[in-house]
Subunit: 359 residues, 2 copies
Amino acid sequence: MDDIRFAVLGTGGIGRRTLEVSQHKDGLTAVAACDRNGVAIDHDGLDVDELLEATEGNIASGPQGGGPDDVATDGGAAAARADGVKQHGEQAGIVASSQGEPTETPIDDIIAESDGIDAVLLALPNLEHDFIPRVAERFAEADYEGVMIDVLKRSRVIGMLDDREAKLTESGITFVCGAGATPGFLTGAAALAAQSFVEVEEVEIWWGVGLKSGYEDNRGTVREDIAHLDGYDIETAREMSEAEIEELIDEHDGVLEFHDMEHADDVLLERAGICDAEDVHVGGVLDVRSDEKPTTTTVSVTGTTFDGETGTNTFQLDDATSMEANVNGPALGYLKAGVRNNRAGHYGVFGPADLMPGF
Amino acid sequence: MDDIRFAVLGTGGIGRRTLEVSQHKDGLTAVAACDRNGVAIDHDGLDVDELLEATEGNIASGPQGGGPDDVATDGGAAAARADGVKQHGEQAGIVASSQGEPTETPIDDIIAESDGIDAVLLALPNLEHDFIPRVAERFAEADYEGVMIDVLKRSRVIGMLDDREAKLTESGITFVCGAGATPGFLTGAAALAAQSFVEVEEVEIWWGVGLKSGYEDNRGTVREDIAHLDGYDIETAREMSEAEIEELIDEHDGVLEFHDMEHADDVLLERAGICDAEDVHVGGVLDVRSDEKPTTTTVSVTGTTFDGETGTNTFQLDDATSMEANVNGPALGYLKAGVRNNRAGHYGVFGPADLMPGF
């Protein structure tokens, strides 16, 4: 586990933050990254600082422009130039430094070099549901052997991945799905909190996010969240202009509250045998005008013990921990756990913490 | 994962409760159990209710008698009789029902039948430090392939198991150590709570246990805890008579408070790379005269995020959840996770909860 070489697909908020967090972690080396317009591969390790600087323009790019959500579908002109200056501000890509190249086939380029890559993080907002499953399939068709991990949110995507399980298995892929904050971190917390019980009655996941200074960096996430509001869905949210989003946010004074969101925590807990999907409730409050969390992120698991008592175990994140910390830390933790599984041969002494997401 | 056949070594409080909890869990079949005087093996599944009834006398047996702690060392006369009546109250063992047999070699008897056993739970208080490592070694010497899991507490035992890792690996054993409540459940919670951070400064584990109605069933645990009080150690605690223990408890009005206990959470978190062992503090309050918990069991993990914030994530168990629920549920959860690892071939789609202890 001392040397995990990983790739990141997408250089939006999540991809960039994952690269940044990985620099604080032992044993993780970023060797490849791509977005719609560029790809950077260096099996000895990318210069992450340089890459972060070069992709900074991605933050401000609109959804019609070079967002990471369409990395695979765009065949447009490369935005990258060797001098590090973006050609088209609205089509930000990995700006070619000494390590980056413009490309029209970013994912194929990564696949072509995937022999030396232990894990691939799909940092793609996935507004099209089948996008991540389709990317997984392309890796499988190329006989990729390794870990693939995503931070998707929608429940329905899990089934699409399950449908492809035979193909992924045949290729030698360990696919870890829904491994961000929720689902991901908080799903794991619910699974653990359930251990006191023989019957789980309800799982309530309630999150708070303050996103003032991180707003520009997380427009894709905000857009995805809007799709959960009454009167909106994925299609309408995807088609909103930036101005329409601003207007909606104004109407709510910057604070959006969500209930019964379609977050995959439900199916992930059900498929692990912990409870019925319908007993899982996900909601939260997003404040885009303050960095303070409007509410404390809490997982509450209510169940019955073998000796007949009913109780609620809770897991709470400190308000000082940012959404970015709680998405990208766990994503890398689950990535490590995925690699541990993928490398097989699990003999020897294992402590409980070894069977959890690696740190 | 639909069919895990497991054995329990020891029929004291923990062994008996594990058997009981397993009846509420899908896919777990108890096929063998032993204590110092008896062994019961049925590869089609033991009659757990009958076994629990037959071993009820074990609860009251003193430490000089047939406690599960010396299951391996005693070669005394069998206490089991076919009519289900204990021969020697103080040497309680598995009373032979239709499924049980008296034996002088309980562990060897289990080993002889271990081909059909996926996992072995060592439900032994382990007042002698090297007892569990020595039992593991005996299974390895017999080329056992499968999971072994214990609920040991002391930090120093982990190193003894690590010393034997090559031997265990060669045999094909996945050994899961320290998989009860603390270490175990709460170690896992700490490992998970750490995921927000890139640097963990402190882990504080603080437990509360109310043990009035469970006291008789947990004398071994109380004795182990006493060894953590000022002026006591493992040897003195082991040699105390029941009367001396009662006296000590009287002096404290039934409430014992512990600080800086030698619990293996510290080394288990350090070996997983989460923090230094010295930054882990375990303590708690035991009330043997009330079933109410004297304090709420809480895991607090303080760390720094990649974006420079310091915070404390917390995991709390409902006061209504008993120690037994919080030891035996997680022990079986980790057992399932151990089997998942042991069976290898980890390809396919995994959700986060699949990488956690199974439910």
